[in-house]
């Protein structure tokens, strides 16, 4: 009887707390939505994202890979942003002369609420991309990445986290900006919201005169294994020339490796300038060294190579118009066995306002 009474008491308490939270949400949300519709210059909700279609030839297997990544941006009042990105992609291949067949996969990359507390701090809660290095958060969208194949070391840390994150950027002098992100993630075994328990931090400094960014990342797993992951990143856009250099290094018990990538836009070439200024040449070198531990297979889209591997890649991007580019690349996989990797395709970025967008 006493147990029942305690249980009921707990239920009542939970109910009361839920009611209070609902009241709070109602009181806060209604004026926010009213403010949204009242002010013409305020941010408008947007449906953006990218779509692409690629043909890959990897180790003699040809695959057709359509992909859509819708991103929903919902600004609330002056300081809030709710943002979400989903990923839908298919992998249809025709190995051994069979008809094309495969599966369509879907995943939720992030669904987060951001609160811009002050110029130095943004508080994020929900499901977010784990801030480790620069590829996962910044370069992953297909309309942004210069080569459609992700780096070999990308699966070492390509996850999403469920928890809380503090992040921001601020100037430390007239010639340098510091940025940081630190987070705690909880364990979630739900298929859609899968995440591991752990915490980590990333910090970077951007020197605005030479346009150089250097940074470091650290992640501590709080699972059955308590491994550490370390990462370093570098980016340089030399101001006089349209060159974009980027590099990342990651080290962990699962393996380590690096990638170095350079992308040159031919916009300064005077010959056939109308065509050349839309053309970009990309080269990348990367190496992966397998580690002592085997990474648990949780059905991720990308997996680590089996054994030490290196892969040089070359590619061409042609920007047909704003947000639309055609890509072609060739790579040579050099591992236990060697083979060619070809990728051809097209990527498109879209952005649609979900309300009045204001005049151009």
């Amino acid at each position: 009887m006493q147990y029942l009474s305690k249980s009921e008491n707990r239920r009542d308490s939970c109910l009361a707390l839920c009611v209070l939270v609902c009241v709070w949400c109602f009181l806060v949300t209604v004026p926010i939505l009213e403010a949204q519709t009242a002010d013409y210059e305020r941010p408008v909700p947007i449906l953006t994202g990218n779509a692409g279609y690629f043909t890959t030839s990897d180790n003699g297997t040809t695959a057709l890979v359509p992909e859509v990544n819708p991103v929903l941006l919902l600004p609330l009042r002056d300081r809030w942003l709710i943002e979400s990105r989903a990923e839908f992609y298919g992998q249809f291949d025709s190995s051994r002369g069979q008809p094309y067949g495969g599966e369509v996969y879907k995943q939720l990359d992030y669904l987060q609420a951001d609160y811009i507390a002050n110029p130095y701090l943004t508080v994020t809660a929900g499901r977010f991309l784990t801030p480790f290095g620069i590829y996962n958060e910044r370069l992953y969208p297909i309309w942004i990445r210069d080569l459609q194949q992700v780096p070999l070391i990308f699966p070492l840390e390509s996850s999403s986290s469920d928890g809380v994150m503090l992040r921001g950027g601020f100037p430390v002098s007239s010639w340098a900006n510091l940025n940081y992100a630190t987070y705690f993630s909880t364990l979630n075994t739900n298929t859609t919201l899968q995440s591991d328990r752990g915490f980590g931090t990333r910090t970077g400094i951007f020197f605005n005169r030479p346009r150089i960014e250097v940074g470091a990342s650290w992640k501590k797993e709080l699972m059955a294994q308590r491994h550490n992951l370390y990462g370093f990143h570098f980016a340089w856009q030399p101001p006089p020339i349209p060159l974009n250099l980027r590099a990342e290094y990651t080290r962990s018990e699962y393996g380590s490796g690096y990638w170095v990538e350079g992308a040159y836009r031919f916009s300064q070439v005077p010959v056939w300038n109308k065509v050349m200024r839309r053309t970009e040449f990309v080269g990348r070198m990367q190496q992966y060294f397998s580690g002592e531990e085997q990474m648990a297979d949780q059905g991720e889209k990308y997996t680590l190579p089996h054994g030490d591997t290196q892969q040089p890649d070359f590619g061409l991007n042609y920007y047909l118009k704003d947000g639309l580019k055609a890509s072609a690349s060739y790579g040579r996989w050099l591992g236990r066995h060697n083979w060619n990797v070809w990728v051809f395709g097209i990527a498109w970025r879209f952005a649609v306002p979900l309300g009045s967008a204001g005049g151009q």
């Binding site: 009181l27 704003d322 009045s356």
Partner: protein
């Protein structure tokens, strides 16, 4: 005991809700989206373009301009995603909406 916890938790929730509902002195433009009113517009445009190339060009090709309300949303999104500083965000917003 649990009732006390609920009361203790409820007070700050209700206070924060009332605080959120109450009109603010600074209501109008977002504090993170105001521009610098005492600077030369041409200089601000130039500086905004520079910050745009510094920050946005680090990851992707320059997009065409969007309508102002879309730009305001995109810049807020990029402020979080790319950890752009407050000042850079304001200048980029000014440049992109001119």
């Amino acid at each position: 005991m649990r009732k006390n916890i609920v009361i203790l938790a409820g007070i700050p929730i209700l206070v924060s809700a009332l605080w959120a509902v109450a009109p603010k002195k600074s209501e109008g433009r977002a504090p993170t989206e105001t521009v610098f009113s005492n600077e030369d517009p041409a200089a601000m445009r130039l500086e905004g373009e520079k910050r745009f190339r510094d920050n946005c060009g680090r990851c992707h090709a320059a997009p065409h301009k969007f309508p102002p309300r879309m730009i305001a949303t995109i810049v807020r999104h990029m402020r979080v995603r790319a950890t752009i500083t407050d000042k850079d965000m304001r200048l980029v917003l000014y440049y992109m909406t001119q």
